[in-house]
């Protein structure tokens, strides 16, 4: 209408205004265009800063953490001499058990002596110092092997032992001859010995599955530590969270959204749920300690308690996202269902809930991912420390036996004094990030595939 009127009018210059052309920009247009360009530039700068930070972070994590996935191994032929391991000579398991790991250490020294003689390696090291390049976990490996198959006593068997953390650091360039000048745990002569063994091919650095599947180890043997058991701890916690938070959260939001009357009580509940979502997670830890452990007498350090605490933390996230996705289902669907004679409950469960399901699932997965990375509440319920050493053997023991969780394990490693643990903390971060990225990707895929827009 207006267009037509304008077109009908003959074009005339307003009096006193300078004649301009669309082809040439005047000062004000240039100013406006410049402002737009500046704004775009600010945006690009903001994004670049964000991307740069991300790149620095990812580069740091990967460059420091990948080392943990590789480990140095030493191959050695060990003679399992019957004199030392079975003095009685009856191969009785109870007698064999009496020989502690300290009784197995001399076998390693002898194995090194034999190796040096066989390959003509020239070294001034004592056999004790030679064995010092091995991880302190080596005698335990021998002992477990002998106890599981006592028939091997008397034979000579090829074993692959972990090298000590310092030797491993030497092969990863973390440890140099300069840096160990004051170090009591390793000497330059031992590094020379490692070089000689490298030449003969008995020392090797390769992929270390134990880091992904193994258990935590004490401060004296960083090379043997792994994430596996704490991963199981996290898994059991997530199962508890899923089994409790999803039904409770969905039931609460369906009631609040579809059935509850809108009055001041529901308003208060709603405000409190939003507030709960913003409560710092450590508060839930204190609550968990007071209620679940001190009052209900649930066991300390158990993934069950961890799961209960994280459930409290995840509930608001799930309720808020479920309510949002229930709200997004158009009222016409409910009206149509009610119109053909469905009850209120039928309309919700047959029509609204299935349409809201992708949104609910996405919210749940994001809530779980958040809970997976949470450390603070676990500090208070005893899940941080030297804990994750026994893998659970059943579902009940997985829930009730003391265990750690992935972020708690990373925190624990970052605190320890040996720098080799620091590398493992970064490696643990890579694994944790892997899980988080996978979960978030699943959430995105679910949303892309199933979400409907009206």
């Amino acid at each position: 209408m207006t267009d037509a009127t304008n077109a009908d009018l003959p074009y005339s210059e307003p009096a006193g205004v300078k004649k301009g052309s669309l082809m040439t920009q005047d000062a004000r247009t240039r100013k406006r265009n410049a402002a737009e360009k500046r704004f775009k530039a600010y945006g690009v700068i903001a994004i670049s800063i964000g991307m740069l930070m991300l790149l620095v972070l990812v580069y740091n994590i990967i460059s420091r953490g990948t080392g943990a996935f590789q480990q140095t191994f030493v191959t050695l032929d060990v003679e399992l001499s019957a004199e030392r391991l079975d003095k009685v000579g009856n191969r009785d398991i109870n007698d064999l058990r009496k020989v502690s790991t300290f009784g197995y250490a001399p076998l390693l020294r002898e194995a090194f002596e034999a190796k040096v003689a066989e390959h003509g390696i020239e070294t001034d090291l004592s056999s004790k110092d030679m064995a010092g390049i091995l991880s302190p976990s080596a005698p335990a490996l021998l002992r477990n092997y002998v106890l599981s198959t006592p028939s091997v006593i008397g034979e000579t068997i090829k074993f692959e032992f972990l090298a000590s953390g310092r030797v491993d650091g030497y092969l990863k360039d973390r440890v140099t001859r300069d840096s160990i000048a004051e170090d009591k745990n390793i000497s330059p002569a031992q590094l020379d010995f490692v070089d000689q063994l490298l030449e003969v091919g008995f020392v090797e650095k390769r992929f270390n599955m134990n880091f992904i599947t193994g258990a935590d180890s004490s401060d004296a043997r960083p090379e043997a530590a792994g994430m596996g058991v704490s991963m199981l701890g996290s898994l059991f916690m997530m199962l508890v969270v899923l089994a409790l938070a999803l039904p409770i959260g969905v039931a609460a939001s369906i009631y609040l959204e579809e059935f509850a009357p809108k009055n001041w009580i529901t308003d208060i509940i709603e405000v409190n749920i939003s507030n709960l979502a913003a409560v710092p997670s450590i508060v839930f830890g204190i609550l968990g300690l007071a209620v679940f452990i001190n009052y209900m007498h649930l066991p300390n350090s158990a993934p069950l308690v961890g799961g209960l605490v994280l459930t409290l933390m995840t509930l608001p996230t799930i309720i808020i996202s479920t309510r949002a996705s229930l709200k997004a289902v158009p009222p016409s669907i409910r009206d149509a269902a009610l119109g053909v004679g469905a009850s209120k409950m039928q309309s919700v469960f047959h029509h609204v809930l299935p349409l809201a399901a992708p949104g609910i699932l996405t919210g749940t997965i994001i809530g779980l991912a958040q809970a997976l990375g949470e450390t603070a509440p676990l500090l208070l319920i005893g899940m941080v420390g030297f804990i994750a050493s026994n893998p659970p053997d059943s579902i009940a023991s997985g829930l009730l036996d003391p265990n750690s969780a992935m972020p708690a394990q990373i925190y624990e490693w970052a605190k320890r004094s040996d720098p080799a643990f620091y590398e493992r903390a970064w490696g643990g971060i890579i694994i944790l990030l892997g899980f988080l990225i996978t979960m978030n990707t699943i959430a995105v895929i679910l949303r892309r595939r199933f979400e409907r827009r009206w």
Binding site: P247, I293, L308, G385, L399, K415, S417
Partner: protein
């Protein structure tokens, strides 16, 4: 409704767990973060060599550990508290109130406290306790009046020290290490410089004077570190002039980054500490609830294994990690074997 099934079963497990907790079969330990590495080494070796499951060792500090230890007798309380200081009378009383009466004290060895700075930093090589007192005291007596500490650089404290700003990183008050630092370094330095006598001459009573000796300046020259030694190390790393207080074992694992200073002319090492030449050391302990022996499987075996010669002796893995082994270890072993309680068996 499989979710309903899942959630009911989970709740059922939660209820059952209360009774399952009664069947706890692993030893639970809590307490000092200084003792944690040693306790974890022992726990690991214990799990390898015995048919009992590996004990659980938590950290959190000596005081927090003893508090949990004193919560009562029963299977949802810890069996052992690690401590980097001896238990206090106040704590024994709190224990007794909750029914924890028979406590076995086990001394595992000694720990040295060292003063270290950046490897490439200024030449902090020799300290005397008096240097630390003069550098860190909040107020000191000058001509009969207490004045705020005027020193800002180390060479003002002692002309032999480098001329750099004072930047000390000391353990926070929740650490057992702080207590040792105050008593063996600050108080000692206060006596050596004559400041203690000067304060007494000014008419202060002895408690107030000692308190003033151990009060640390709060103007930013000295920073309390509440976290672990890794945090102190990170501060030293980023501050060329920084000097930190560390445990001997931590220093021995990080000799590539830290250089250690002598105290009173003696370099810290397991040898100088065991002979008592190096002045700043303290005993490490753990405390066992006697009522739990025989109830929690493996508890006594763990305690005996901890102090056995092959573990806590001078050639054992604990000494290798940095523990100064106790010359009176045999006595401790006998005490553990007899379950000798604090205050004597009656």
């Amino acid at each position: 409704m499989s979710f309903a099934k899942l959630s009911t079963s989970a709740l059922a497990i939660a209820v059952v767990s209360a009774s399952a907790a009664a069947a706890r079969d692993q030893v639970q330990v809590a307490g000092s973060s200084t003792v944690l590495p040693y306790a974890s080494i022992v726990a690991e070796a214990f799990g390898e060599n015995f048919e009992f499951p590996t004990p659980v060792v938590e950290s959190g500090g000596s005081s927090a550990g003893l508090k949990r230890f004193c919560e009562g007798v029963g299977e949802n309380t810890v069996d052992i508290a690690n401590a980097s200081r001896a238990i206090r009378d106040r704590e024994i009383a709190a224990c007794a109130e909750n029914g924890v009466t028979d406590i076995i004290e086990v001394r595992i060895g000694y720990d040295g406290i060292v003063f270290a700075s950046q490897q490439a930093g200024p030449a902090f090589t020799e300290f005397e306790p008096s240097d630390w007192y003069t550098a860190l005291a909040a107020e000191m007596p000058v001509d009969g009046a207490m004045v705020a500490n005027p020193n800002t650089t180390w060479d003002q404290v002692n002309a032999d020290l480098p001329a750099v700003d004072i930047a000390a990183f000391i353990p926070g008050t929740k650490h057992g290490t702080r207590e040792v630092f105050e008593e063996k370094v600050l108080l000692q330095g206060c006596e050596d410089t004559g400041a203690l006598q000067a304060m007494l001459d000014m008419g202060m009573d002895e408690d107030a004077a000692e308190g003033a000796c151990m009060a640390v300046r709060t103007d930013g020259k000295s920073v309390d570190i509440d976290g672990d030694y890794t945090e102190t190390l990170a501060r030293i790393d980023s501050n060329t002039n920084g000097i930190g207080v560390f445990g001997l074992a931590f220093y021995e694992n990080n000799t590539d980054k830290l250089k250690v200073a002598t105290m009173g002319g003696v370099a810290p090492s397991t040898e100088t500490i065991s002979t008592g030449e190096y002045p700043v050391s303290r005993p490490l302990y753990f405390y066992v609830k006697k009522a739990h022996i025989g109830v929690i499987p493996g508890l006594k075996e763990y305690a005996e294994f901890f102090v056995s010669d092959e573990i806590a002796g001078p050639d054992g893995p604990l000494a290798e990690y940095g523990l100064v082994s106790d010359p009176a270890l045999a006595e401790t072993q006998a005490n553990v074997a007899d379950e000798e309680i604090l205050g004597g068996n009656t």
